[in-house]
Subunit: 504 residues, 2 copies
């Protein structure tokens, strides 16, 4: 099926052009809002055409950079190509591309690491300045000029509204039969005109299946024909399985104790292998008729849907392995009624996460003995990916888990440390920490009580005595609520920087 069949709105036919011609419409210094969330639904042709243009300009000694705002991470053809061409000035709100990461840390890219639920509203409020162009991947345009969204919604609704001009990428490879799966909420507003969001269950549809755009703003329509980023998941390893079992045992126990309703609350799961393993654990767990209320639907959740353990899932993006995507495409009729894709301001909305009572499960880089969490920085200073939606869910969820293997780099890094080298989630937002060693339930504990349980349950045996020693000596310093030895608190990280090993 070619672009003519996908673009059924006649007014757009004379705006069809190739990517290079469209890229020529984006000047140096432009702020460009692109689609894309966790390697799904990002534009596939324009970024590479912009990169080529940037390289040509740079070769002529002229500057060329854009400010790039997206939903979350994209892919090598987008962030990767633009970073390769040194074409990104400012970047928000999330990145996983290795080259872009390098430029972020080098200060070449000004990176703004944000709660994903904040992005659309802060852009709409005008806090980051004007958006010049939106480049949005869609699956097609209806005869009425409505846009059929792609595999991710992200901030597309807002980008289409606030951008001066719009370029559409029509991806003819991704299945047009996804039409009807999306739910775009058009009830948002700028204060003081905001109304309650009338969602009371994770699978409520509250919006419309199409994105809207003012046709007069559409300056180009470009055909692409490419798959989303192929997300490779490792088969769950022993550590991930231990983490998954600990969580499922805990949830079972909470239900028995009457602290969780008999019908399990909606599940949010972060991105990556450990998160995927937890979902795999639920496949064989005791819970039925699960609901997903999450930002990214990965393989693990698709498995739950297919197996009938999960009734419906709400997300802002579908980010699958190639194999899972094949299953998704083959069984679209099955999944269409079970998956709801929403704008990320809705998938991650504090109002909804709190109301629905979401069970939040997010991975982290490190936790300290008092329950503070670092999700973003290596050794205090190097940006990894960003906070993503973890804060939206951790702060507002009914229960909040942070998970990690207890060590990294073959044991050279302890993921439980005396003091986090960067804090993204404070002690006030952390309830349960899980490693392959065990689970620490921190609810209702003071910092000193927390330290005991985190060291005992979560630390790796090779670091447990070191942590206990630090804690004991910190306690001996005097009457302190959160005992620390400031000259040593970050010494484990410094030791790693100096010697490549946190161990003495």
């Amino acid at each position: 099926m070619g672009i003519a069949e996908r673009v059924r709105f006649p007014q757009f036919h004379n705006r069809i052009m190739d990517a290079a011609a469209a890229a020529a419409l984006i000047p140096h210094g432009a702020t460009v809002g692109m689609s894309g969330f966790t390697g799904a639904g990002y534009p596939k042709a324009l970024p590479q055409a912009i990169a080529e243009r940037a390289q040509a300009e740079h070769a002529q000694g002229r500057p060329y950079k854009i400010n790039l705002w997206t939903g979350a991470s994209t892919a090598p053809e987008c962030d990767g190509a633009l970073a390769q061409a040194h074409a990104i000035g400012q970047r928000l709100p999330f990145n996983t591309d290795p080259l872009a990461r390098q430029q972020i840390n080098a200060g070449e890219i000004d990176f703004i690491d944000m709660h994903l639920s904040h992005v659309a509203q802060h852009a709409w409020f005008g806090f980051f300045g004007k958006m010049n162009v939106a480049v949005i991947e869609v699956l097609g345009v209806t005869a009425d000029g409505l846009l059929i969204p792609s595999t991710a919604i992200g901030n597309n609704k807002t980008w289409l509204e606030i951008a001066d001009q719009v370029i559409l990428e029509v991806n003819t490879k991704l299945p047009g039969a996804m039409e009807g799966m999306h739910d775009i909420y058009y009830g948002t507003a700028i204060p003081p005109r905001r109304m309650p969001i009338s969602m009371t269950h994770a699978d409520n549809r509250i919006g419309e299946p199409y994105l809207k755009v003012d046709p007069a703003k559409v300056i180009a329509v470009v055909e692409t024909h490419g798959s989303d980023r192929n997300n490779v998941f490792n088969a769950p390893d022993a550590d991930s399985n231990l983490i998954a079992s600990a969580i499922i045992d805990f949830l079972t126990h909470e239900m028995q104790a009457g602290r969780l309703p008999k019908q399990m609350l909606p599940i949010q799961s972060g991105v990556g292998n450990v998160a995927n393993a937890v979902l795999a654990g639920l496949l064989h767990g005791p819970f039925e008729q699960l609901l997903g209320f999450t930002e990214v639907l990965q393989d693990g959740m698709l498995d739950l849907l297919r197996a009938g353990k999960m009734s419906r899932a709400s997300a802002t993006a579908i980010s699958l392995s190639a194999q899972a995507f094949e299953d998704f495409e083959k069984n679209l009729d099955f999944y269409r009624s079970r998956i709801i894709l929403r704008p990320q301001e809705i998938s991650n909305h504090p109002e909804l996460v709190r109301r629905l009572g979401v069970i939040a499960m997010n991975s982290m880089i490190e936790a300290d003995i008092y329950g503070n969490i670092n999700s973003t920085h290596l050794m205090g200073s190097s940006m990894m990916n960003g906070i993503g939606g973890s804060g939206d869910f951790a702060r507002n969820g009914y229960l909040s888990f942070f998970v990690t293997p207890s060590v990294a780099k073959g044991g050279k890094i302890s993921c439980i440390v005396p003091m986090c080298s960067h804090v993204d989630h404070t002690e006030h937002d952390t309830q349960i920490i899980v490693t392959e060693q065990g689970l620490a339930d921190l609810r209702g504990l003071s910092p000193k009580q927390r330290a005991k349980v985190v060291i005992e349950k979560c630390a790796h045996p090779s670091y447990r005595p070191m942590l206990q020693d630090y804690f004991d000596r910190a306690c001996a310093k005097g009457a302190l609520h959160t005992p620390h030895i400031l000259t040593e608190a970050l010494s484990w990280h410094q030791r790693f920087l100096d010697t490549g090993d946190m161990r003495v």
Copy 2:
């Protein structure tokens, strides 16, 4: 007016007793939920009677402690008396009493420092175990057995619901004419049965003017006759006035730039002298028909109401100086229609703070150059008061200010530091930092950009070169998103601990 006139519900008349008799009903080890928020509406007789009982038990060599849960801070007659008697085991969620603080830091009291909007729901979910007794100050009981709330609502609705037994303190000194001022929302639920909260303006009434209690649970009714804690505010000093002006100028500028609606959004203001000065600044500022949506109504907001600059204010407590309380009592008819007192889960609710677009202004202990905020700990380890509601408002507000004078202890402490010694609000939640030196607008800035503006605008001149030197040397270490020198990041705090001065 005595207790007989205040308690118009006949069924309670035979449960009237003195505080000592009521205290005898509370066993060692009990979890007691008390009323009280920012020195308002706390029980005045029972805590002292419990303290006497504890001392008598201790004199006999028997243990006696209670777990004490409140709305927020209380007063010398409550936290103070109980701490004096070593009668507190666990304490949540906030404390300002000096003796209790000492015992918290010593580890005698297990203190759980929480977001104030989380307290009622986590207790209701059962996360902290059972509540045995609620001790709630009220102004009276209607003929139908409904309770007329006092000067603070706090968590009283939830305590009355979840406690096995209830003791009422009827305060005959506080004005019974406050009847009708309160708005108790009874639409909350445990997930998955939660519904949207149908509030769209800060001054909407969505509940009922009375608290409900199952009469069968009421085991004692005790008369008290005492004022709330007298809150002494200093007249705004030069630094506070500079901070207030910077905020008002900024808001004016934002309005002119179209980033704030012409009708100013609702104001939240933290507790203390600086916050009070900002409100005093608004008294002479350009904004009219202000609305307050805050947790504590202090003198400054009362002045705004009286002057007609603020139309209505919503809070969970009225915490005034003796002089302002006199005015409040004298003009109750005027204030009754202008003040709405709500449960703290509503006054601080993320759903509402975000929907209403609250302008959040909170004080802090220190900020670091990258915009992380410490609201709770001195030198990384000693608890001051707690996070209170600052996180509820800062994360979800339309704009969020954190304010402090740039130095403390006569210049020996810089409130702008290389790295916060404890983080309560992360860089993701901080928008605007203000000191008497100036205002740093951090929206849309990367960490390195933030450091430049924080050092330039907010640091005290005596520390600015030291901060710039730290930042420059940290940047020189390599490609780092958030440059730090881990061996020095906390050295300023350590120097203060060693020498009493952060300066070299």
